[in-house]
Every structure is written in C-alpha cells, then in structure tokens.
Amino acid sequence: MLRLEKVNKYYRVGAHSLHVLRDVDVNVDDGEFVAIMGASGSGKSTLLNILGILDDYDSGEYWLGDTLIRSLSESRAAAYRNRFIGFVFQSFNLLPFKTALENVALPLYYQGVSRRKRNQIAMQYLERVGLRDWAEHLPSEMSGGQKQRVAIARALIGKPRLILADEPTGALDSETSQQIMDLMSEIHRTGITVLVVTHDAEVAARTQRTIRLRDGKVMGAHEAGHSNPHMAAVT
C-alpha cells in the first residue's frame, strides 16, 4: 500500500538545519490498521505531513500504491489527496458555517460532482455513521463524538484507499473514544488501510501494529497482538 524508504526531512531554522526524520523506513500493506506513536517532537506530524502529501521530503522515496510521491506540483498533490487519502483530525476541523451534510459533501465538490449528487452520496455516508437525522445541523449544535463521526464520513466519501487519522480521539472522553475506534475498526474491515497517529496506548492497542518514532527514527514495529498496551506505553 505505502512504502517509505530511507526518507529524510530537514527543516531550515535560520542558519541551522533541523534533521526531523532520519532514514525512516515504513511499510504498510493494503488493508492494514496501524498506529504511529511517539512523543511530541519525535517527527510524528512531519511523517503525517509526508504521508498525507502535504509536505515534501529531502531524500528517500515514498511510494503510495505504484506512484512515487515526490516533488509533485501542488495541483497533482491536491488531486492525489482527494482521490487516495481521507483525513481525520483531533479537532474535527469541520467548517463551522456548513451543515453536517455540506461538510461531508465537500471532498466531492473538489471532484466536480454536482451539488444534488454529492448531497445524495453524503446522506448515505452520514447514515453509515448513524447521523442521518443530524444532516441539517451545524457543527456547533453537535457533540464531539458526533462531530468526529461527521469528519469520518467526510474522510470516507471520496472512497480513499488510505485513512490518515491524527489523534482522532484526542479531544474525546474515553467512552466516545471507544465508539470512534469501533468506527475505525469497522472502516478497516471494509478493506481500507487506516493509519492512526496517537499517543494513547489504548488507541494503539486497538490497531494491528504500532510504529514507534523517537527523535525522527523508527524504533521498530511490533505486532499489536503480541504487545501489552501498558507495556507499549512505557516503551
């Protein structure tokens, strides 16, 4: 599905150069459910940027499917994001002035789908996350869990092959977190590759395996089934 080979990324801060990712190798198969863990400053968000084609890297290779993602033009990058990747964020990032339905339909707007058609499809996806009755509500009228489900419906509507979730439960209580992770597992079962960036060991425990980052390096992959979540937390 996706493969990172010796990816390096530097940030130039004044005269200095910050080595953020060091020879990162990541291999995620089709249909895998993977967690990426690491302390802040470990390079998690940079890795997410690169995986989400929101940022370029300095050396190495990033293959998404059969495509080498490198030095793409902004428009090509936008097209790949739109077709291949669905994003889920910690703070949901719904547009506050759009209804749940319009929010879900937004990726289809950028695919050039007509308003009527994309609202129809968006309704189906809202139904899948159990929010059909909330279609005409604004995000401000919804609970955190509901907002995240709207965001997930929005991530799914473009039929992506990869879901990138950045701390999807970070702003939710534990019960709601459980529900959202249930939904993630469900998505995973439909054959979509899911990558979750988290610092919550319980969330990581729900995935198949965990990739750990420390100081821009991958610490080694473990089969989630073989690792104790609490042990994982202290590693």
């Binding site: 989400g52 739109n82 707007y109």
Partner: protein
C-alpha cells in the same frame, strides 16, 4: 515646472503604476491557471461563494462599506467636477469667447503735456479706425447714453413702465454676445446708417411689455423717445443678459444728445490665439492713444477686458479642476481597493483553518485562489454598484438645487461602465495577493494548532 505639468506627471505615474501592477498580477493569474472561463459561469462555485459571504456578515459589511465609500466619493467628485465645469461654462457663455472690450476711462499717467486724471472720450472716428485693424472680424462701438455706462432707461408701453438697460450699439454687437434671436431680427447695418428708431428687446422685456402678444412692429417708448420693436432675443446667460434692449448707436447719439461720442469699443478677433489677440489689442490701444494723447502703457486710460486670455485661463482652470477631482477620486478609490485587499488578507488569516481543511480535502491551490478572488470580485462589484448608485443619486439631488456655480452634476454612461469594469478588475487584484497567501497555507500545521 508648471503645476499642470506636475499634476499631469503625477496622474501619468499613477496610471503607469496601476498598469504595471495589473499586468504582473494578470500574468501570474494566467501563469498558474487561475483564470479560466468555465469557473466564472459555474453555478456551484458561486453558491460556495455566496454561502461563505452570507456566513461572515460583519466582514462582508465592512468590505462593502469601504469600497462603496470609495466609489461613492469618486462618482460624486466626478459628478461635482462636471457640474462645476458646466456651471463655469454657462457663466462664460454670456459673451463671445474671442471678444475684447475696450472702455474709455481716466488717464493715470501724465502724457503729451496733459495732466493725470483726464477723461478719455472715444468717438465715431475711433470706431472707423479700429475697424480697419487687421484681425478684427466684428466690431461695435457703444454709446453711453447720458454719459453713463450701462444706464437703465424707463421704458413704457401704454400704462406699463419699467426700467431696463439700454445698449446703443452697432449691428455687430450681436456677434459679441451669445444672444439668440427668438423673433424678428437683430439691428442691421441700415438701421445704423439710417438712424432708425429700431429696438431689439430681451425675452423678459417682451414678456413684461407685451404679455405674450407679438411685439414685432409694435412701438415702445424709451426715455421719452418712441422706438419700433424689430426683434426679440434670448441668452443662455439668463435673465441678467435678457433684461436689456439694443438700439442703433447712431440713433442714440442723435436722440439723446450724444454727438459722436462712444463709451467703449468691442470687437472679436476671429480664431486668434492669446498672443495674436494681444498684438491686435496693442495695435488698437496704440491708435487710441495717438488720437487721444494718452500714454499707450497707461493701463487706466483705457480698460481692456480680453476674453481670449480669460477663456484660455478658464480652460486651464477647468482642466485643473478635472485633474484634481480625478486624482482625489482615484486616490480614494485606491484606498478602498487597498482596504478590500486588507480585509481579504485578514479574512484569509481568519480562515486559515478553513482553507487548511479544504486543502486537506483535495482543494487545489488554483481553486483556493479562485475562491478568494471570486469573493473579492463579488464584494467589490456589489459594493461598487451601491456606491455608484449613491453617487449618482446625490448628484441628482444636487442638480435639483438652483445654483449658479453647479449645473447638471453627474457622470455619463461611459464613465459609469468604466468605473464598473475598473471595480471588477480592482476586486480581482485586491483578492489576488491574499488569495496567493491562502493557497500557501499548510494544512497539517494549521489543523494541528489547537
């Protein structure tokens, strides 16, 4: 450096700067493929813009006010400038623009053995001599009845009597005025030659004495002498110019005991420019000083009113006013456009998150740029039209006021269309730089910020 040149230079520099800015921005927009015709007619895109505008009412209101104000001031100033111009031209329309008036007065310099303060008196010989000066195409002498300048005379018909200015002139006096004959004719050469008791009266005079009846051929009494009405005139200068009468200079000299005296000489100089006109005037004054023994450099002995020079001065004044108004108006408008650019910039900052989300969901930089520009164009367009309507409306109100200085203020259609086109372009430009900033938003950075 003359002020005209300076103003012209400033305007030219301003226009050049705008053109350069426009070219660069347009080239960039085309370069990244921002400008595409099908986007403009996409209903979906417009709906997206309307929704965003509708959800940000305060911002929309602020933007609208700033541009509407700019356009309002521009249109109003242009309209006012036009009105002033019209008003001045109308005031000037009283007399021939190539006319020269030479009036006899008192000497202020001793000359040829004569003391200061001697009164100069023109006569018919001066008229004949001046008439021969090359470059003069129409000439009239004016006899001041009873020695006074523009004397009013009691004029009667039956039991109606009133006082009107009476001008005793030659037939060419018509060419020195802006009069139009509404009935009959003006005084003719033969009226002068035969010392006929003919009179040409202004429209209000006719109205007063005849109350709408046909005055041509009727007799009226001017200063106890009967005159026959041969014509009625009107004048664009209004009632001051119309409450007057014209009688043959020869008749007046005879009837009112004026010998061969003339109080002033007036003539037109054809299409002579200011310099040529000055040469002609110098020649006329030289002749007069010869005849009447005064110093030709004595500015008091004869008073010269030169419309050629005056008109030239007025034309420059008009030009100055127009240029001034244009500079101020464009400046105000530029401030408005910069204001929109500013507000759009703030809007982009405020919407960083939204733009980040859109980009994460697959919005291309092009679509982001176009979205911002479209909003900007729409806002400036609507605001501009509001300002345009306001400005035109105020000019309309002003036109209703009866004012000597401002006449029919307003802008013509082409100016209105130009302003509208300018607004749309300005809106696109105002939106472009904020839009480019928006397109550079990095989604993950903005979306992770809590």
């Amino acid at each position: 450096m003359s002020p005209f040149l300076l103003v012209g230079l400033v305007v030219l520099l301003g226009v050049a700067a705008v053109v350069i800015y426009l070219t660069i921005a347009l080239a960039r927009m085309i370069g990244i493929g921002v400008l595409q015709w099908r986007d403009l007619i996409s209903l979906d895109r417009w709906q997206e813009v309307f929704i965003t505008i509708g959800r940000n009412k305060l911002r929309t209101a602020l933007t609208t006010i700033s541009v509407a104000w700019g356009i309002f001031v521009l249109v109003f100033l242009l309209g006012l400038g036009q009105g002033l111009d019209n008003g001045l031209r109308k005031n000037f329309a009283r007399d021939a623009t190539n006319g020269v008036w030479v009036m006899a007065n008192k000497t202020s310099v001793a000359h040829g053995g004569y003391d200061v303060g001697r009164r100069v008196q023109f006569n018919n010989a001066d008229y004949d001599a001046t008439k021969k000066v090359k470059g003069i195409d129409h000439i009239t002498g004016t006899h001041f009845i009873g020695g006074r300048g523009w004397g009013s005379m009691v004029t009667k018909r039956g039991n109606k009597a009133n006082s009107f200015s009476v001008n005793a002139v030659h037939a060419d006096a018509f060419n020195l005025s802006a009069h139009e004959i509404v009935a009959g004719r003006f005084l003719s050469e033969s009226d002068i030659a035969n010392k006929r008791k003919s009179v040409v009266i202004g429209r209000p005079v006719s109205q007063f004495l005849f109350e709408g009846a046909n005055p041509i051929g009727e007799w009226i009494v001017v200063h106890n002498v009967p005159f026959q009405v041969v014509g009625v005139y009107s004048d664009p200068g209004g009632s001051d110019e119309e409450r007057q009468m014209y009688i043959p200079v020869s008749t007046a000299q005879l009837a009112f005991n004026g010998a061969d005296k003339l109080g002033s000489l007036s003539f037109t100089v054809g299409d002579a420019g200011p310099e040529e006109a000055k040469l002609i005037i110098d020649q006329v004054v030289a002749q007069l000083s010869d005849h009447h023994n005064f110093d030709p450099t004595d500015r008091q002995a004869v008073r010269v009113h030169n419309n050629v020079e005056q008109f030239e001065r007025f034309k420059k004044l008009f030009w100055m006013i127009s240029a001034f108004v244009l500079v101020i108006g464009l400046g105000t408008l530029a401030a408005g456009v910069v204001g929109v650019s500013n507000i759009m910039m703030i809007a982009v900052k405020e919407r960083t998150k939204e733009i980040g989300v859109r980009k994460a969901l697959g919005a291309t930089p092009r679509s982001i740029i176009f979205m911002i520009i479209q909003e900007s164009v729409f806002l400036t367009g609507v605001a501009g039209l509001l300002g345009l309507a306001g400005g035109v409306g105020l000019c309309g109100l002003l036109a209703k006021l009866d004012n000597d200085f401002i006449l029919n203020p307003g802008i013509d259609l082409s100016t209105g269309i130009a302003a509208t086109v300018f607004l749309v372009v300005a809106g696109a430009l105002a939106g472009y730089f904020p839009a480019r900033a928006a397109a550079r938003v990095n989604p993950v950075h903005t979306l992770r910020d809590q």
